[in-house]
């Protein structure tokens, strides 16, 4: 019985433990460093000098950093809602209907996923100048070009996730619903949408993460007054990586983790009830 190791027995092999350790170190060491050095009492941020919360205070008092942070959150929120709706509708259309050029639409919708970000950024920049997208609007309308760009590259990810979810859907559930007296709309609301929900949440989460940390495309499409957090951090780092950047980044990481936890909780309400 103990001749061949079971799946969990492999964890007792030294080389496998070493491997796991290496993976963890390479994945998380940089993040740990970032967080730890955000508490470093030093301007240069190379050698550990002592613990301080100073830089969190400074980051908070840095108006332009806070503005960029707010911009990022607003952009991410609006872009997530829009790309989830558009992506889910496209996924439903592709899943449900057969129409001329369906495969072309499907392939075309996946383009933003495969096109290099830099090309997408340039393309969007050219597009905005070409159509004369209004600039210099009041906040938050001046974020519209960034939001537009984020929706453009994020919604295909939602489509892919929702589409994959719907592949497992038993069409007779919809038929059963109609057979029992439900209208088209009632059927969608009561039967199709609940089934889609995990896909929607996963897709929205993906879109939000993509939007929050996007640098390249935002760099091309944001005006000077509409910096997002990643772009602002980049400009700050150019003058040296101070613990202030670390502190701001740590806050972003915490926000992201919180959002993820919320999303995961929303995804499995049944388990909490039981």
């Amino acid at each position: 019985m103990a001749d061949r190791p079971g799946p969990l027995d492999y964890l007792r092999r030294w080389w496998l433990r070493g491997w796991i350790l290496a993976v963890v170190v390479f994945l998380y060491a940089p993040i740990v460093c970032l967080v730890v050095f955000s508490f470093n009492d030093s301007r240069r941020n190379i050698v550990w000098q002592g613990f301080t919360l100073d830089y969190y205070g400074r980051a908070l008092r840095n108006a332009s950093l806070i503005e960029a942070f707010t911009n990022s959150l607003v952009v991410a929120l609006v872009a997530t809602v829009l790309s989830t709706i558009i992506g889910a509708l496209l996924a439903l259309a592709l899943w449900r209907f057969r129409f001329v050029g369906r495969s072309a639409v499907e392939a075309g919708s996946a383009l933003p996923i495969v096109i290099p970000e830099i090309c997408m950024g340039v393309a969007l920049l050219v597009f905005f100048t070409r159509v004369g997208w209004p600039t210099g609007l009041v906040w938050p309308l001046n974020l519209s070009s960034v939001i537009f760009s984020h929706v453009a590259f994020a919604f295909p990810f939602v489509t892919v996730v929702v589409r994959a979810r719907m592949e497992g859907f038993d069409r007779s559930l919809e038929e059963a619903s109609k057979d029992l007296g439900a209208s088209e709309w009632q059927t969608f609301w009561n039967v199709t949408l609940p089934y889609m929900k995990p896909g929607l949440i996963a897709g929205a989460l993906l879109a939000m993460t993509l939007s929050l940390d996007d640098f390249v495309i935002t760099f091309f499409t944001s005006g000077p007054e509409t910096l997002t957090f990643p772009v602002k951090v980049y400009s700050m780092v150019r003058f040296g990586a101070t613990p202030e950047v670390n502190a701001a980044s740590t806050v972003l990481i915490v926000v992201t983790i919180l959002l993820t936890i919320i999303a995961i909780r929303l995804q499995s309400p049944a388990k909490q009830e039981g």
Binding site: E175, L180, A182, Y195
Partner: protein, 365 residues
């Protein structure tokens, strides 16, 4: 049965359904009496499921009309029809509990809240699922899920209940149990059941009327016994149970009798219902209607002889495959009525076969 004919709850008049160039159902006329347990039986692809889906409203006929309880239904969407369906996959909503599943149909059609609770309780009691109201479908067995699907359809009090291959996903023991259960339910609720199946035993044991379909057409509609004993064509004869077919020529026919020349048998007179036309025909004899003798019998009735080719022993009966002198193979069901009989048979042994002409069926198609 009462003398007055029961009015038809479902009427199909010249119903045709084409998918592109493929005709799934062709100019079908059908009347299903109220309170019948009706089976649509046929091989896969014969159009029986399409017919059922047209009754439910998921397909609309290319031509013809469908009347349910006297109302024209062919263009009415499924949610406005007085029929409910039990799907082959059961289609129980996975995110709802048993009680929510059963209540769903009442809720979406605006039944008052106070009425829903008792009706759900009654429906669940009827399918013997009381106590499982709070279960989710993934915590139930296939048989239980099917009961949920049944309760969910019956709680709507439809005029007709449609069942699409209701037993195909169950194992043998459960299937037999469910057959009895469905018959009991049908008697209890007193509504018309229309069941689609490819399993002839299922149809014979449950239904009181069966329509046999092939290639989009209904070949015969009859009660089970009639379908078995008096099939009207070679397809029905072969599809329902096993059948031995002999080529024959109708030499003469008068009222009630036909003079035949049967290949391998010789001249034979058989009783017939309808006077058959002269010419080629088929004489059909069920395996259990053939008698098997191990020695040439003195008595009249032995008409065929051959060698035992193969034996399949089932305990109560043995299936004996006999190769006749002319090369044809005949199946005989031999009842092992005494303990010694089966032991007497062996492959290669010469045997004689006989049958009563009254047990033979003349098919002229």
């Amino acid at each position: 049965m009462s003398a007055t004919p029961t009015p038809a709850i479902v009427q199909l008049q010249g119903v045709t359904k084409r998918f592109g160039s493929f005709t799934a159902v062709e100019r079908t006329n059908l009347e299903i009496p109220t309170n019948a347990f009706f089976a649509l039986l046929g091989p896969s692809g014969c159009g029986k499921t399409t017919l059922l889906r047209m009754l439910a409203g998921f397909e609309s006929p290319t031509e013809g009309s469908i009347l349910i309880d006297g109302q024209e239904m062919s263009r009415v969407p499924p949610n406005r029809r007085p029929v409910n369906m039990v799907f082959q996959s059961y289609a129980v909503f996975p995110h709802m509990t048993v009680a929510e599943n059963v209540a769903y149909g009442l809720k979406v059609s605006g039944v008052p809240r106070a009425e829903i609770g008792p009706r759900v309780r009654d429906a669940l009691a009827m399918v013997r699922l009381t106590g499982l109201e709070g279960r989710k479908p993934d915590q139930m067995s296939g048989g239980q899920r099917q009961r949920v699907a049944l309760a969910r359809a019956l709680v709507k009090r439809p005029k007709v209940l449609l069942l699409d291959e209701p037993l195909s996903a169950l194992d043998k023991k459960l299937r037999e149990e469910m057959q009895l259960e469905l018959v009991r339910l049908q008697h209890e609720v007193g509504i018309t059941f229309i069941v689609v199946t490819h399993d002839q035993e299922e149809a014979l044991s449950m239904a009181d009327r069966i329509a046999v379909m092939e290639k989009g057409r209904i070949l015969q509609i009859a009660p089970p016994r009639e379908l078995y004993e008096q099939p009207n064509c070679r397809f029905v004869a072969g599809f329902i149970g096993a059948m031995n077919l002999f080529e024959a020529q109708v030499r003469a026919a008068d009222n009630g009798h036909a003079q035949l020349e049967v290949k391998g048998v010789g001249a034979l007179q058989v009783p017939v219902d309808h006077t058959p036309p002269r010419g080629p025909a088929t004489l059909a004899v069920r395996p259990e209607k053939l008698r098997l003798f191990t020695a040439r019998p003195e008595a009249q009735g032995a008409r065929l002889s051959g060698l035992v080719e193969q034996l399949a022993y089932f305990g109560d009966t043995s299936q004996v495959y006999v190769r006749l002198g002319d090369g044809e193979r005949v199946t005989v069901t031999h009842h092992n009525a005494t303990r010694s009989t089966a032991a007497g048979l062996a492959a290669g042994q010469p045997v004689w076969l006989g049958f009563d002409p009254a047990d033979a069926i003349l098919l002229t198609d």
